[in-house]
Symmetry: C2
Subunit: 355 residues, 2 copies
C-alpha cells in the first residue's frame, strides 16, 4: 500500500470506530429501558446501567467493528445509516459477549485490573454480584437481537452463531482453567496440542470467526461451504494472533503491549513455555518445573534464562514467517467457485490487521 | 377427588417421573459427546460430565415434568414414546436452566449445601471454576434444543422463551441481591412491592410460566392471547407458592420443609418480614432493625417474638384463603373463546399441586 492509501484506510477506520461508538448509547438506553418498563426500582436500573457501561465499551472494539467491516465489504458499497446501525448492533452484541466472558474470567483468575480500571467484581459493593452481572451482559445480547433482528431471515442463524460460539468459548475456558490453575502447577499437563485447543476455543472462535460469520449472515450468505471456508482461514489467523500475544507477553516492551507481561508468574499455558518444554533437556526442564508459575521475580528470571537458552525468540520468528506464508496460501487457495471468494480473504485480512 | 382417583394420579406421577429420569442419561451423553467430538482432553470431558450430573438431576424435577404434563394435557391423549422423549428434552432444559441459576446463586449467597450435598463451588478443586461451569449448564440447553428441535416450527419460539425467561430471572436475582445483601442490613429497602417483584422475576417466570409455555409451544399453540392467559394465572400461582415457602421457612417443621429455615438469619426479603414491617409499631420496628439478618440465634428468637406478637401466622392463613379464592376465580374467568381454555386451568393446577 502507498502511504496515502494507508492514511486513507487509517482515517476510514477512525471514522468507522467513531460511528460505531455513537451507536452504543442508544443500545444501552434500550437495555436499561427493559428494567424500567418492568417497573424495576431505580437502584436496580442504575446498577444495570453501570454494569453495561463499565464493562462493554472500553475495549479496543476490534471484534465489534469487524462485523461492520465484513458486512460493508460483502455489500461492496458504502452502507446506508440503517445498515450501519444494524451491523453495529451485531458488533455490540459481540462486545457484550466479550464483556460477559471477561467479567467472569477476571473473577476466576482473581485479576486486579482490566482495561486500565479495577475489574468489575473489585468495584465497591459489587463482589460476587458480578456473577449475575455477567449473566445479564449475556442476556442483553438476545434482547438486542430480538428487538433489531426478529424480522430478518437471518435471525435464527444469528441466534445460533452466538449460542454455539458461547459454548465453544466456555469449553476453551474450561480446558484453560483445569490445565493451568494458578495454585497447582503441573507442567506435564501442558502441550502444544492443548495450547492450540485452548487458543482456538477460548479465543479464536469468538474473536475471529464470529464477527465475520455474523457479517456474512446479515449479508444473506447461506452456503455452508462459505462458512467452512471462512472458518478454515479465520481460526488459523486467531491462533497466530494468540501465539503473537503469548510471545509478546515475554518479549514485547511494555509500550508495545500496554502492560507488563505476567504469563510466567501466572502459570499460563502459553506458546513460549510449550515450545520450551518441547526443546528443554533434563536440566532445563527441572528449572522450568521448579520456577514456572511461581509468584516471585527471581523464579520468573530463571524461567526467562531458560527461554533465552532455548532461543524462543528465534523460534518465534521462524513460526511467524511460516505462518504468514501458510495463511497467504490458504487465502490464495479459496476456490473461485466459493462465491464471493475474494471477500472472505479480505474480511480475513481485516481481522488479521485489526485484532 | 376420591381416594382411588388420588392413588391413580399419584401412581401416574411416579411413573412419569421415572420415565422422565430415564431420559437424562441420553441427554448427558449427547452433551459430553460434544466435547469428545471436538477432541477435548479426557479431564475436560469428565469435568463436564461431573458438572452436569452433580447439578442437574438431583432436584424435585417438578419444573421439568410440568412441561411433559402440560404437553400431554394439551394433546388430550397418551404421548407416543417420541413425544414423551421430546417433551422431556424441553423439561430437562428447564432443569438445566435451574441448575445454571442455582450453581451461581449458591456462590453469590455463600451457601454451604444444596439438595443434601455440598454446593458445587465447594467441591474439591472446583471453587471459582463453578462460574464457567454454570455458563456451560446454560449453554447445554441450546445445544440440546438445536439437536432435538431445530426442525420444529416452534424452534425459534422455544429459543426465545428460554432466552427471555433467563433475562427475567436475572433481573429478579439482581433486585434480590441489592435489596437484601447479607452483610448490609437495611430494612428500609424492603417492601411488599419489592418482595412481589423479586418473587415474580426470580422464581415465578422460570418455575411456573416457562414449563407451561414450553408445553404449549411444542403443542403448536400460536395465539398470543393463550400465552397472556397462561401468564395471568401462572404468575399469581408462583407468587402464592413463594409466599408459602417464605411462611414455612419460619413456621414449618423441619420435616415439612426438609431443612431448618434460615431466612431471618440470612436477611432475606421474605413475606413474613415485609408483613411485619407493615404492621410493626415503633418499638417493634426497632427490634426488627436491630435483630433481623444477624447471624445469631438470640437475634433470630427476638425477631420471631415480634412475628408472633404481630400474628404473622394468622395473617398468612388469611392470605392463603384469599389467594385460593382469587386463583379459582381467575381460572373460572378464562374466556371460553380462549382455546383450549380448560387446559390452561388444568396445567395451572398441575403446577399448583406439584411445585
Ligand atoms: Mg484472565
Ligand atoms: Mg482466564
Ligand atoms: Mg496474553
Ligand atoms: Mg440462595
Ligand atoms: Mg440468592
Ligand atoms: Mg425459602
Amino acid at each position: 500500500m502507498s502511504d496515502s492509501v494507508k492514511l486513507d484506510a487509517k482515517a476510514k477506520a477512525a471514522e468507522t470506530k467513531k460511528r460505531f461508538l455513537d451507536v452504543w448509547p442508544t443500545l444501552e438506553g434500550q437495555l436499561v429501558d427493559v428494567l424500567k418498563s418492568h417497573g424495576m426500582p431505580e437502584d436496580a436500573t442504575e446498577w444495570f446501567r453501570n454494569n453495561l457501561s463499565y464493562n462493554t465499551p472500553h475495549g479496543k472494539l476490534n471484534r465489534g467493528i469487524s462485523v461492520v467491516d465484513t458486512f460493508e465489504i460483502l455489500q461492496g458499497r458504502p452502507l446506508s445509516s440503517e445498515e450501519f446501525f444494524k451491523a453495529s448492533v451485531l458488533g455490540w452484541c459481540v462486545e457484550l459477549l466479550q464483556a460477559y466472558f471477561l467479567v467472569a474470567d477476571d473473577m476466576m483468575d482473581a485479576s486486579v485490573t482490566r482495561r486500565g480500571q479495577p475489574c468489575w467484581y473489585r468495584v465497591e459493593r459489587v463482589g460476587n454480584i458480578a456473577i449475575n452481572d455477567s449473566f445479564m451482559l449475556e442476556a442483553a445480547i438476545y434482547h438486542l437481537l430480538k428487538v433489531h433482528f426478529r424480522n430478518e431471515p437471518s435471525y435464527v442463524y444469528i441466534l445460533e452463531l452466538f449460542l454455539e460460539t458461547t459454548l465453544k468459548t466456555e469449553i476453551g475456558q474450561l480446558i484453560d482453567l483445569i490445565t493451568a490453575p494458578e495454585d497447582e502447577i503441573d507442567l506435564s499437563k501442558f502441550s502444544l496440542k492443548k495450547h492450540q485447543q485452548i487458543v482456538i476455543y477460548k479465543t479464536a472462535y469468538y474473536s475471529f470467526y464470529l464477527p465475520v460469520a455474523l457479517g456474512m449472515r446479515y449479508a444473506g450468505i447461506y452456503s455452508d461451504e462459505a462458512y467452512a471456508t471462512a472458518l478454515s482461514i479465520l481460526i488459523p489467523i486467531g491462533e497466530y494472533f494468540q501465539v503473537q500475544d503469548d510471545y509478546l507477553d515475554c518479549y514485547g516492551t511494555p509500550e508495545q503491549i500496554g502492560k507488563v507481561g505476567t504469563d510466567i508468574l501466572d502459570n499460563k499455558c502459553s506458546w513460549n513455555v510449550n515450545i520450551a518444554l518441547q526443546k528443554a533437556n533434563e536440566k532445563q526442564r527441572k528449572v522450568l518445573d521448579e520456577h514456572y508459575g511461581r509468584k516471585d521475580a527471581a523464579s520468573e528470571a530463571r524461567v526467562k534464562e531458560i527461554f533465552n537458552e532455548l532461543q524462543i525468540d528465534a523460534l518465534y520468528k521462524e513460526y511467524e514467517q511460516n505462518t504468514y506464508e501458510k495463511l497467504n496460501k490458504l487465502i490464495d487457495a479459496i476456490p473461485e467457485s466459493t462465491a464471493p471468494a475474494q471477500q472472505y480473504a479480505t474480511s480475513g485480512n481485516v481481522s488479521f490487521s485489526l485484532l
